[in-house]
Amino acid sequence: MSFEVGSALSIGAILFTVIIVAAMLIWVERRLLGLWQERLGPNRVGPFGLLQVVADMIKIFTKEDWVPPFADKFSFILAPPIIMVVILLSFSVIPFAPGVGVIDSDIGVLFVLAMASLGAYSVMLGGLSSNNKYALLGSLRAAAQMVSYEVFMGISLLGVVALAGSFNLREIVLSQSDGWFIIPQFVGFVIFLIAGIAESHRLPFDIPEAEQEIVAGYHTEYSGMKFGMFFVGEYLGVVLVSSLMVVLFFGGWLGPAFLPPIVWFVLKASFFIAFFVLLRAAIPRPRYDQLMNYGWLFLLPLSLLNLVLTGAYILWQEGL
């Protein structure tokens, strides 16, 4: 069996790695947070606490998986798998290295955006079906936040798409061989980063599940593996947004030849995952209206301006 794009080996390896990485992030995040907050973090189970993930998994699988009698059973059970499925599907268009990937799609960027917009249903249905005020408040916030930030996410990507001349993520990586897009598209990168955090509703933008205000937001009523799916889905989202940043702005697998391409990809992606955790440790949560105003009144005009300037630059280059 050869290791090429779309082969069963490639698909299996990517699926396995992505899920393991997402699960390991539970430990990585707690250890890194500990490091930055000058405490130890989980270090009891196995060497450096590495087996903490196994312990957590055993705990979460053996917990009672309860559906509240007042909940709408159909949507309640449907909601958690949605986030896992759409994010895992998004990984299918990510080019990890030459020959490593699931599919080379000409609509790769659009596919990722479509899946991101479907991911909102997980949070919304989860909150709505729980029949609980805190869950409903959380999912109302989540819906507004995700729909708004999707817009800026899409527009911030268009600069990269215009420069590369393709929606195909592999071609976007290849067109960065002369220079990464972070330099001409720095504004686009910053907007994408902020929108990416808001889309995966991570701290500091975890307003839908703000513990101090609305218990646990949309997953208040969830327990056992259904909660686990929301939890792992969040980490999968972090891995996905980090991979996308690497592919779109930091040259994907491209790098000096002393390391193999896949190692470059993993190194760059790990850097952004660690950056996500650092953001969580460093920045307090904004208020809900601050987040919305910031998005629509600042990020939207900025991303449109970035797109117009990029277009003007491309036309000017062609005119020379």
Partner: protein, 160 residues
């Protein structure tokens, strides 16, 4: 591709019927999303990946989210469900049923008399963009003006 087309079409049909007959609004909405997604798959099978993605992003991903958003605010409960059930009398189906049967008969006769074969020719994003921003530029601009009018109207209504 033919197999993909027919399976997606069957899913779309079943999901759309479920939208109409289900009494729970949230379930109906979930079925509507499934129906829209299967239409996106149909577009894909017919060689229009760009249209498929737009269907998924705009209809399934954005418009339906707004529907669900409104539904959350309305706080519909068992009472609405009972009301819906009361409205779903079998005799109400006679009128629409006959009309739809007529349409279906016409459609099948057209399909059988005219030899229409599915011949998927893939139309990429670039081809569509060239058409939209070439000969159809005026139409695109008109559509954007219509959206602007909607935006201004929504702003005005929200201010009240």
């Amino acid at each position: 591709m033919i197999f993909l087309f027919y399976t997606a079409a069957i899913v779309a049909l079943i999901a759309t019927i479920a939208v109409i007959v289900s009494t729970n609004v949230v379930h109906a909405l979930v079925y509507l999303i499934i129906s829209l997604l299967s239409v996106a798959v149909i577009f894909f099978a017919l060689g229009a990946p760009f249209a498929a993605m737009l269907e998924a992003i705009v209809y399934a991903g954005a418009i339906m989210v707004l529907f669900l958003f409104v539904m959350m605010m309305l706080n519909l409960g068992q009472a609405t469900q009972d009301e819906e059930k009361a409205w779903m009398q079998p005799r109400l189906w006679i009128g629409p049923g006959t009309l739809v049967a007529l349409l279906l008969a016409q459609l099948t006769s057209v399909l059988f008399t005219q030899d229409v074969a599915i011949s998927p020719v893939e139309v990429g994003v670039l081809d569509i963009s060239v058409l939209l921003f070439g000969p159809w530029l005026l139409a695109v601009e008109l559509a954007s003006m219509l959206l602007l009018a909607g935006l201004v109207a929504a702003y005005h209504l929200a201010k009240k």
